[in-house]
């Protein structure tokens, strides 16, 4: 078995990297592939609580990278989704406990065991970022429609290109009515500014917070817009290019907007 390593990164923190990693991992496994998600935020682990697996940790990614355990021991099997595994971060070490050599060995080992390996990259561009991109075959950059997130995404995209990785972009937490009112960048604006290929658009969805509260997956909420978006992105990652990138509905149903658009005074 020869797996593919995909790093999920953003530069800026708090844009939904961890939720994206968990959701895509769950969706990829639900589509029938084996998938390991690796939390590389050493010292600040979070992916385990997001996935509801925080009570099962025995070994972590540092133990595995340093050869203190086998892949089978470090990879925690998901409670519900077959084929989904978590390799948690260590909570006591710091980001410099691993180096790029450790990571090359680790990703090589994981590729033997899983179809897909998703690396949840920590925020920032220090050692944690270097480690996370080492051994990555592909990269997904997550960004929200905010100036700070877009600027950091641009920096990260530059760093990925410098490592010969062509990233794909997810615009997360789009609030359509704010875009219509001219109060938020649209996904097109973000695409224009960053000029990078889009792999998916995710609308702001309150149910993501609720799912995270209980350690369940948003993709299992079949009526959730964010969940559906993540499932489509997973399909595209698996190579199904026929799945269209669904744009958020920017049509406003409000009576005033209808009237004003009829009168041609609002674009």
């Amino acid at each position: 078995m020869k797996g593919k390593v995909i790093v999920i990164t953003s530069g800026k923190g708090g844009v939904g990297k961890t939720t994206t990693t968990a959701s895509l991992g769950a969706a990829i496994a639900s589509l029938g592939k084996t998938c390991a998600v690796v939390d590389m935020d050493i010292g600040l682990r979070n992916l385990d609580v997001v996935m509801g697996l925080e009570n099962r940790i025995v070994y972590n990614v540092v133990d595995l990278a340093h050869g203190r355990c086998q892949v089978k021991q470090a990879a925690i099997r998901d409670r519900k989704i077959t084929g989904l595994y978590l390799i948690p971060a260590s909570q006591s070490d710091n980001k410099n406990v691993l180096n790029t050599d450790d990571m090359s060995r680790l990703t090589k080992k994981l590729k033997e065991e899983f179809d897909y390996i998703l690396i949840d990259c920590p925020a920032g561009i220090e050692q944690g970022f270097e480690n996370s991109v080492t051994g990555a075959d592909e990269a997904v950059v997550v960004c929200t429609p905010e100036v700070s997130a877009v600027r950091d995404a641009d920096r990260i995209i530059g760093l990925l290109y410098a490592r010969s990785i062509t990233p794909k972009l997810i615009v997360n937490r789009i609030i359509p009515h704010m875009v219509v009112n001219g109060d938020m960048l649209s996904h097109k604006d973000v695409e224009d500014v960053l000029s990078v290929e889009m792999i998916g658009l995710v609308e702001m969805d309150d149910r993501v917070v609720a799912a995270t509260n209980t350690g369940s997956y948003i993709i299992d909420d079949k009526t959730s817009k964010a969940g559906q978006a993540f499932t489509r992105i997973a399909g595209r990652i698996l190579g199904d290019t026929s799945i269209p990138i669904q744009e958020p509905s920017y049509d406003q149903k409000g009576i005033w907007n209808k009237i004003s658009s009829k009168l041609g005074i609002k674009k």
Partner: protein
């Protein structure tokens, strides 16, 4: 009509939206981010320029000055060097 009561009611008083402002600011910020030049690079550039000019002119290498000047919409590389004399036998 556009700037009248009607226009204001529907939020199209001609004022630029924060969305448009955000996009413009970002585009400028990203251009400037990419123009940021390290001192190391500037020193290497200066050395290379000195080497080239020295082939044709006698110059005062110590009073040579290389700067990046920035204005709102353009950046310029400015080099100031006193020329002592032209070389007769350049290679």
């Amino acid at each position: 009509m556009k700037n009248g009561l009607f226009g204001r009611l529907f939020g199209s008083s001609g004022k630029e939206s924060s969305r448009d402002i955000a996009k413009k600011r970002l585009q400028f910020a990203l251009i400037y981010d990419k123009l940021e030049i390290s001192d190391e690079l500037l020193e290497c550039l200066q050395q290379d320029i000195v080497d080239v000019i020295s082939r044709y002119f006698e110059i005062d290498k110590d009073s040579l000055k290389l700067d990046i000047e920035r204005q709102d919409d353009l950046s310029a590389l400015v080099l100031n060097t006193p020329i002592l004399s032209a070389k007769k036998n350049y290679d």
